[in-house]
Symmetry: C2
Subunit: 337 residues, 2 copies
Amino acid sequence: MEPAARKKQILSAIVESYIQTGEPVGSKALIQEAGLKVSSATVRNDMADLTERGYIVQPHTSAGRIPTQRGYRYYVDNALDVKPVTAQGREYITDALSQNADSPESLLQNASNLLTRLTDYVAFATTPGGEESRIRKISFVPTGAHAAMAVVIVSNGIIKTKLFRCEFLLTPEILQVFDKALNDVFAGVRLEAVNRPFIQTAAAGFGELSLLMPSALIAIKEACDLARVVSVYHSGLGRLIGDAQADRILEFLQNQHDLAAMLERLPLNTAATIGKENSRVELAYSSVVSARYKIDGSPSGVLAVIGPMRMDYARMISVLNCTAECVSELLNEMIDY
Amino acid sequence: MEPAARKKQILSAIVESYIQTGEPVGSKALIQEAGLKVSSATVRNDMADLTERGYIVQPHTSAGRIPTQRGYRYYVDNALDVKPVTAQGREYITDALSQNADSPESLLQNASNLLTRLTDYVAFATTPGGEESRIRKISFVPTGAHAAMAVVIVSNGIIKTKLFRCEFLLTPEILQVFDKALNDVFAGVRLEAVNRPFIQTAAAGFGELSLLMPSALIAIKEACDLARVVSVYHSGLGRLIGDAQADRILEFLQNQHDLAAMLERLPLNTAATIGKENSRVELAYSSVVSARYKIDGSPSGVLAVIGPMRMDYARMISVLNCTAECVSELLNEMIDY
DNA sequence: AGTTAGCACTCCCACCCTTAGAGTGCTAAA
DNA sequence: TTTAGCACTCTAAGGGTGGGAGTGCTAACT
């Protein structure tokens, strides 16, 4: 065998063995596991070379080698044997996702829980981002004499509600007038377009009617803002314990805003983001495996799993891939009509 | 000084010192801190007695004493100096709670976040329980040709929505019929009463109309169920790290159902539940300080903080008390009309 | 050039032992 | 009932030791 090919084989074997056992891998053990036909000295020479080139390191002089971030990266890019999820597996996933899933939110919560169950790591699911989403319809529900709820229905299936109050008596008739007038203005508008100037221009167009509805307009704007914000559903936080950085990671994960920002920056395809490749220092020694579900064929919200760098990437990728596909199907069914 | 009184003083001093430093307290150190006018030998005798009676223990032979669960209990019941929150403090709390608080849910989320900030422990807030709550009103919002959203407005200020689908075309006219018919039946009914038999009886009363609305009725029932379930808002999970039982506690806290059950069982007044007094084994070495906010004057949802047994009970109790009062005020303002 | 056996070397880890210090319980006297 | 005195116990920290794993290097071999 070519020396170069053997080195690749050795690197893969080190990564795989370390992923499985968590123990540094020595030259002798390696020969057995990889079924190599060379002596341990040869393997040692190769390992020295791989160390020099930054793919593996020794925790200390007389220990075996463990992969570096670069080593994992090489392995994921070149040596990964991703087996697609079986038909039964896929059916199981679809079933689990469908349980009580009557809104995009609950579907995504299911996805997060399911991923934790399947992977034993912390899992996330974000709601579809708002970039391309438009307001489909606005409704009002009276909740009291001076209070009502604005309901904004978005094209991506998300529905957001927001309460508001007024000084004057909110009769059903007034709400009906609101309904008519506001749907004329807002229906079909992109969520992003609903900002302060837009609201003001809209109000100006209503003439004297506009005096009655500032709080309603603000409620609508806020509901649109909420619909654009990606909510994050996570589960399995308990699995983090034991990680050296657990407290910093947990603190980070509690911050919806930072977390959502990080998740949004993940690649559009199914991929592993390893160690310092992550945008957050908190994750410098963790890996994120992520996939996106699609709405109308284009990548939308994120499903992700956070675990140690030492994780079973092949399995993670196939599970996330399949889950994202199933979520896409169910979500599009939910929206289509 | 009476020996008995001195023993009480010694116990309190041990608890306070241990709460502050986390170090076992020895006889000599105790004399200084408590300003006692007796020798260390006397203190040792008293400590031996307190140990025998189960108020304090030695981690090992040659260490000082630390309080037992019983010791903390005595301290909390008899020696606690609870200073009410200052006027500025109260104002700060009210301000923090009011930020973007336009629904009971967001108010309670604020409360949870605030408590974490103020106490540095994991904090919880539950929505008002449904025992005494009644349906105030039901509305329908069309969301698609075959889908709509049922909105159930409850007397405690909670609003729950639930989507549903039908085979036939859901015109606004049909929804209006639903609205009228269903409000006649459901308005004023207690949430608990909305169970399967009730739904069936109701359906029977609608005659041929009932054929159109099974999915709507189920949606209403589910929304009522949701409104009864106490949602739990928590924050500050990161603070748990370092606790020996952290993983088990975290796992438990992720389970909304078990957590809600535990919180509901907490006392109706402001109180500390110490160690094994808790209904969950996971909390055998933690303490829960809890208070309830009031709706219409009667204790309703729970605010709580979980920390180590070694916590500053006096401060926790005053903070929780004040926060619960402020939540009560704001919540009742929110509902009243 | 690439491979191999042999070997000295390094370093970790688990173990034991020692020591200093803190705090105790007991005893006998005040 | 309180106190001084003292022997005793136990922990935590430090240091020394030996075994073991795994290495890198060298020199010989293909």
